[in-house]
């Protein structure tokens, strides 16, 4: 009986799966076009899956092994089952392999089940709770129906008169398994992640973020430029269908593991953002409906079930809409610090930050709804080329006594020192002065643009004002094009990122270095000598735009090591560093939460027992120094280096008549 039933079951499931796939693909194709090379993408899939994805999943060995056993077992079992039971190729070898595969899947599913006994908060419940049972049903069912194939059970056992009941039960189990695994995969069950996830990997919008066989690390963190010339293209994303099709596909790949939720600083601060929920909302939006079925942690302070959307309906309710609610509230989008912790953790390689900025672009460019100080900052940028609205001619005021060499005079130098908007900030001016002191001590041939420099456009871009970003970027690129230099050095990771990763698309390609990288190189080249560190314990805070955005975790630590400092690492450091709360314009949009992100970060510092937290970002410095009753002092790496400099006395006297000025700071 089973011999008849099984092929029917299998091919029915496959057929339904195929119908579901078509329907699912149609949902994705509501999105805007985004050209991809289908064959190349599919060819790259195995490597992307086995190397890049498992690089992320491998951070949790238990889950990684569980997934290998379960998913590997399933894929093998599914193929073999089609051959053995679907097409009736009752080869004992294939049967044996099928037994092995289903056994492996069963073992894996036991671990999946165990994880679901007392699941961590970040995991979504709902249908995901039945998944381990379905996995077991499939694996046990397939295992049992295959036993006769290899002769471990008499062929006729299930053929006998009274055994039809047993066969029926077995068929039911297999049907359940097939239903979850094949039908559910394309009709929106938990297994959807395998289908969408695989295609997402193949057709990822950022092919360049994957490693290459030649040893390329793979990193793609710069935002994609909007084509402002194309009048047909929407300015950002208003409705789900405004995303590109492969972005929609990406959302669908989400496994709701909640790793993003666990690392999101805004979520931890009780601000109304949960990256997982946001992605799920996009899934709801592309299919149409309400978020009532969502079975994970909500946006803090926003109960589930009150929001709904449709592919062609606005994601954020325009003010005119009654109830004021659509798919997502604006404050959710403005809570993001763009720290990329979610993207870094996502095993499905979903690009949350891209999506958020896409939606912000619409709110800012089409609706003018940048909240709180946002509009003022953007106005300032438009009027003065800096977010603080300072007189542009005062950008070099802090250095009036330093006689900084100007690009306008020298035209050609080794290093162009990019000041950033920290040049207007009294705290960051100390860092800049320290950096100048270090460059001079190492006799670096450098110059600054001075008042020719403009804001890099980072804040404008992350607040969604792509037009202002591009205007600033193009003018900066034009200025830089007038001069010759080998590299740009900056103490601002945001400028570093934008100049290095985002100007390229607009025609500005530069070798940009963070000052910690540059100082590490100077030290390695023997151009700097330090007195040994005598201060207290030091920890290091990785700026998001240096670490996660640009992969620079080592240079700052090497500099600290060169100073004789043994870094007491915080629990969350390196690629898992917790954001200071200062990125993405978050301090400007200032969405209230239950606590402040920098307070949490300074608490991390406190727990490390450090008396000094070394930083490498003006924004981090400002945020962390703003913490009341902090237990540690915040010092930029440049300051620590400048303090430890051993100046050669010979150099001192040679300078004499003109007495090159040093930073006057008296460090109290």
């Amino acid at each position: 009986m089973l011999e008849t039933l099984l092929p029917i079951l299998i091919f029915t499931a496959l057929a339904l799966a195929a119908i579901g796939a078509v329907r699912r693909i149609r949902l994705w194709r509501q999105g805007r076009p985004s050209p991809v090379n289908l064959f190349k993408g599919l060819a790259a899939l195995p490597r992307r899956y086995l190397v890049d994805l498992h690089h992320v999943i491998g951070r949790d060995k238990m889950i990684s092994n569980t997934h290998v056993a379960t998913a590997g077992g399933f894929v093998a079992a599914a193929v073999l089952m089609i051959l053995v039971h679907g097409l009736g190729i009752a080869n004992p070898l294939l049967g044996g392999l099928l037994l092995l595969a289903s056994a492996s899947m069963f073992v894996g599913s036991l671990f999946v089940a165990r994880r679901r006994i007392n699941p961590p908060k970040r995991l979504s419940k709902g249908p995901w709770m039945r998944l381990p049972k379905s996995l077991m049903a499939f694996s046990i069912g397939v295992f049992l129906i295959t036993l006769p194939t290899v002769g471990l059970l008499p062929e006729g056992l299930l053929e006998g008169g009274g055994s039809w009941l047993l066969a029926l039960v077995l068929a039911g189990v297999v049907a359940w398994g097939l239903g979850e695994m094949f039908f559910g995969m394309t009709w929106g069950g938990p297994m959807k992640h395998a289908f969408a996830g695989a295609l997402h990997l193949a057709f990822h919008r950022r092919a360049e973020r994957f490693s290459t066989k030649k040893g390329g690390v793979g990193r793609s963190t710069g935002l994609k430029a909007l084509n402002l010339e194309d009048e047909a293209a929407p300015l950002g994303v208003e409705k789900p269908a405004d995303f590109t099709w492969n972005q929609l596909l990406g959302f669908d790949a989400c496994v709701q593991c909640g790793r993003c939720e666990a690392v999101c600083p805004a979520f931890a601060a009780g601000q109304p953002l949960n990256p997982k929920k946001l992605i799920q909302d996009m899934v709801v939006g592309m299919a149409g409906g309400s978020d009532a079925a969502y079975a994970g942690s909500p946006y803090p302070g926003k109960p589930v079930g009150e929001h709904a959307g449709a592919p062609h309906a606005p994601i954020v309710a325009p003010v005119v809409m009654k109830e004021g609610k659509a798919l997502v509230d604006a404050d959710t989008l403005w809570s993001c610090t763009t720290c990329r912790a979610c993207v870094e953790e996502c095993p499905m390689m979903i690009e949350h930050v891209d999506a958020i900025v896409d939606m912000r672009r619409h709110l800012t460019l089409e609706r003018g709804k940048t909240p709180n100080k946002g509009a003022e900052v953007l106005d300032n940028l438009i009027a003065t080329d800096n977010p603080g609205g300072f007189d542009p001619s005062s950008r070099l005021n802090w250095a009036a006594d330093l006689n900084l060499p100007l690009m306008a005079v020298l035209k050609q130098v080794d290093v162009l020192l990019w000041l950033g908007d920290g040049a207007f900030d009294m705290r960051n001016q100390r860092t800049l002065r320290a950096l100048v002191k270090v460059l001079r001590a190492a006799e670096v041939d450098f110059a600054v643009l001075g008042t020719e420099e403009r804001d890099s456009g980072d804040v404008a871009r992350r607040l969604g004002d792509e037009a202002t970003f591009q205007s600033l970027a193009k003018r900066n690129i034009a200025t830089l094009a007038k001069y010759r230099f080998l590299q740009i050095v900056t103490c601002d990771p945001h400028s570093f990122h934008v100049l290095g990763n985002e100007y390229g698309e607009l025609g500005g390609v530069y070798d940009v270095r963070h000052h910690s990288t540059f100082i590490a190189e100077l030290f390695d080249a023997g151009r700097l000598t330090f007195t040994p560190w005598k201060g207290g314990r030091v920890t290091y805070h990785d700026p998001c735009y240096l670490g996660r955005y640009n992969g620079e975790y080592e240079a700052p630590r090497n500099v600290l090591k060169a100073l004789g400092i043994e870094v007491k690492e915080m629990e969350r450091s390196g690629f898992r560093s917790r954001c200071c709360g200062g990125g993405g314009g978050a301090p400007i949009t200032d969405i209230p939460g239950e606590r402040r992100i920098p307070d949490m970060r300074m608490n991390d510092v406190k727990e490390s027992g450090a008396e000094v937290v070394a930083v490498g970002c003006p924004q981090c410095t400002a945020m962390l120094e703003g913490v009341v009753d902090a237990s540690a002092e915040v010092r930029d790496i440049a300051e620590l280096v400048a303090d430890a400099l051993v100046e050669s006395p010979a150099a001192d006297t040679s300078r004499r008549p003109t007495a090159t000025t040093m930073a006057e700071e008296v460090i109290v």
């Binding site: 603080g388 300072f390 005062s394 005021n397 802090w398 009036a400 006594d401 330093l402 207007f424 900030d425 009294m426 705290r427 001016q429 100390r430 005598k534 120094e625 004499r656 008549p657 007495a659 000025t661 040093m662 930073a663 006057e664 700071e665 008296v666 460090i667 109290v668």
Partner: protein, 694 residues
């Protein structure tokens, strides 16, 4: 940006100044060594540059000519080429930190003394005597004029060759240039006096000669007053005319403007406004000059606070603010603004200890900052943390000495407890601040309060420390700064008793602190003639009492400095306080409801009586030594301070014993008035030099 106006650079001539804050010219009185700048001088200005000051104009009243006596205030001597290498040291020290430095140059004319050094014949346009210095002078001759014009030019050349950034010609404070300007002093009828152009001629010749000598790439400015405040002197309109006249030459790079002439005691007090003045009292005069000139204007006078400076600059009244006493109190003022440590700025309180010492020919020191001008000795403005053991330090007494001791010990990283019997910190400062116009002296305490809180010193206020309490804390070091008590028991005839009911006299502390209610008809006997007596008189008169203040010294308030006694006198005369000198308090006795004070003339012995209802005696302070003697024998060092180490700013040897180890038991030091009654600066200096090595 909160202080953007302060931190906007400015061009003066061809010189870029990094911010708008200037330490204006004042006599440092430690240029010594024949007018050659010394290590002390260099380190004093280097500290300001290191602290971020934009421009220092050094050498108030530095002389250009041999007959303008240099020695009285040890000013810088630019009449010889010997000064050039000294200037090079000074310029390098300031430039190294990004600061700029100029010097004020002058011929003081009649405003000096002739009775010393070279016994110079002083000069002035019409030979009229100067009252403040009691100096007579000769009427200047044409030959002198041209010699001095040449001397100015040579002095400017020396400043330039020495690497300084500019010179400021002093035409203020009634020096020779403004002696020519002022019709009050210039009565000449030749081409150097009379008409406006004639009175301007000397200054113009000086300016032209200086500019011709130094060329265009060297700053030349003028310091002028905004109004002499004399009916027969130069008015504000006159000064505007003068400023515009010189500005029109196009060869003046800046004007420094201050309010008030200063050739009388009363006008002199305006020039360096003490704590009785409002903030920036004469800004309007400088703003008036700014209206008529095309070059930057500097103004200094009671600008002490960064917010005030920002407000003045933002308002556009002047281009640069002088914060000179503010820098004497805290040479790191600018750095602290930049570091966001505004609360840590030691703000000038206008006690004028600095300038009042200067007018006595003493080196300029700060009442509350003992490190200022002692940088060369190694006294630090920033106390480094100790690399040695963390000690338990107990300080007794919350007056200036005790507060400084606690601050310094805490900055060293020690565990510090401070006991103060009163409910608040301050000691005698708290009492002094009760007098009318003297409340700002409490700023000294306020700074310490903030610092001690920041440094987490364990403050035990309202707690009188006894031997047992102290030793219970198992201190490594005990510092006694218990001060003293008014010394009323010296003469039994005064009828002082510890029982307040029976005592016939009360102290100025009793009056100022409010412990004793003011009488209606009060005699103050002031044997000391410093602040307490006149403060009590002012306080009582302010409460409506009829007051006579009597002293056996030459006059009441005789020991109060030259920029401070005039403001007391203004107030006392206005309130009809009678000031009587040359009488000693012989005896006090009760008669009916009242008191009779018997006074004895110092010179004739004649007795006279006053019938009053209250007798207040100011007879100084007697040290409070009880706790010291209770602890002395138990201490490791028997309470002794090693004087050689103290004066040489070296660590007290007992801090480490011969073996290099710390011994058993505690060390005991006492400082301030509980050793011998002196003043606030003495107590703070004691505390700093003893505690800096803890």
């Amino acid at each position: 940006m909160a202080f953007d106006a302060i931190f906007e650079p400015i061009e003066i001539g061809k010189l870029t100044i990094r911010n708008r804050v200037v330490s204006t010219a004042h006599a440092e009185v430690h240029a010594t060594d024949g007018g050659m700048t010394t290590e002390r001088y260099v380190r004093y200005y280097e500290e300001k540059a290191k602290g971020g000051c934009g421009l220092c104009i050094c050498g108030g009243s530095s002389v250009v000519s041999i007959d303008s006596p240099q020695g009285w205030w040890s000013s810088v001597n630019l009449s010889t080429d010997r000064i050039i290498p000294h200037f090079q040291n000074l310029a390098d020290a300031v430039h190294k930190h990004g600061g700029k430095i100029m010097i004020q140059i002058t011929h003081m004319g009649r405003r000096s003394r002739w009775d010393g050094f070279d016994w110079s014949t002083l000069l002035s346009p019409s030979g009229i005597r100067e009252p403040v210095h009691r100096s007579t002078c000769k009427t200047i001759e044409e030959e002198d004029i041209w010699r001095i014009v040449g001397d100015f030019a040579q002095a400017a050349r020396r400043a330039k060759e020495g690497g300084l950034d500019g010179v400021e010609l002093s035409a203020v404070h009634q020096h020779l240039i403004d002696q020519f300007w002022s019709p009050r002093v210039n009565k000449r009828e030749d081409e150097w006096g009379g008409s406006f152009e004639n009175r301007m001629r000397f200054g113009m010749e000086v300016l032209k000669a200086v500019r011709a000598e130094v060329g265009d790439d060297f700053c030349v400015g003028m310091r002028i007053c905004g109004d002499e405040f004399h009916p027969d002197g130069l008015s504000h309109d006159d000064m505007k005319q003068i400023a515009a006249y010189y500005d029109a030459t196009g060869i003046v790079d800046f004007f420094g403007v201050i309010g008030s002439g200063c050739d009388t005691h009363n006008t002199l007090a305006n020039v360096i406004p003490n704590m009785s003045y409002p903030p920036e009292p004469f800004l309007h005069l400088a703003a008036g000059i700014k209206e008529v000139v095309n070059v930057p204007v500097i103004h200094a006078q009671n600008i002490k606070d960064p917010n005030q400076a920002q407000r003045i600059l933002k308002g556009g009244y002047v281009d640069l603010v002088g914060m000179t006493r503010a820098h004497i109190a805290d040479p790191h003022l600018i750095a602290k603004i930049k570091m966001g440590q505004i609360d840590q700025i030691k703000q000038c309180v206008g006690a004028n200890y600095c300038i009042d010492r200067q007018y006595q020919g003493l080196d300029v020191l700060c009442i509350q900052n003992a490190a200022t001008s002692r940088e060369y000795m190694g006294l630090p403005h920033i106390i480094e943390k100790t690399e040695g053991a963390k000690r338990k330090i107990v300080v007794v007494g919350g007056g200036p000495g005790g507060m400084e001791a606690a601050r310094v010990a805490a900055e060293r990283g020690h565990d510090v407890t401070l006991f103060e019997a009163a409910d608040a910190l301050g000691g005698q400062i708290t009492i002094a601040a009760q007098a009318p116009q003297r409340d700002q002296i409490a700023g000294i305490t306020r700074w310490f309060q903030l610092e001690l809180a920041r440094l987490k010193v364990d403050l035990r206020l309202g707690t009188r420390a006894d031997e047992a309490t102290l030793l219970d804390l198992r201190p490594d070091i005990v510092v006694l700064a218990t001060g003293g008590q008014p010394f009323l028991s010296q003469h039994p005839e005064w009828g002082y008793s510890e029982n307040a009911e029976e005592s016939l006299v009360v102290s100025t502390w009793d009056i100022l602190s409010g412990k004793v209610a003011p009488g209606k008809n009060v005699l103050i006997y002031d044997a000391i003639c410093e602040f307490s007596g006149v403060s009590a008189a002012d306080f009582l008169a302010d409460k409506g009492a009829k007051v006579e203040i009597v002293t056996d010294d030459i006059k009441p308030g005789a020991a109060v400095g030259g920029t401070t006694f005039p403001t007391y006198y203004r107030s006392l005369y206005e309130k009809e306080v009678i000031m009587t000198s040359d009488l000693m308090l012989h005896k006090v006795y009760r008669e009916g409801d009242g008191l009779v004070a018997v006074l004895e003339n110092e010179y004739t012995g004649a007795l006279e009586e006053r019938v009053v209802d209250q007798v207040v005696v100011e007879n100084g302070v007697r040290p409070d030594e009880a706790l010291y003697y209770a602890l002395k024998e138990q201490s490791r060092n028997k309470g002794q301070v090693d004087l050689e180490a103290l004066y040489a700013i070296q660590p007290q040897p007992c801090l480490v014993d011969e073996s290099g180890e710390e011994g058993e038991g505690f060390l005991l030091f006492r400082l301030g008035d509980c050793t011998a009654p002196r003043n606030t600066h003495a107590a703070i200096y004691d505390a700093l030099r003893i505690c800096k090595d803890f």
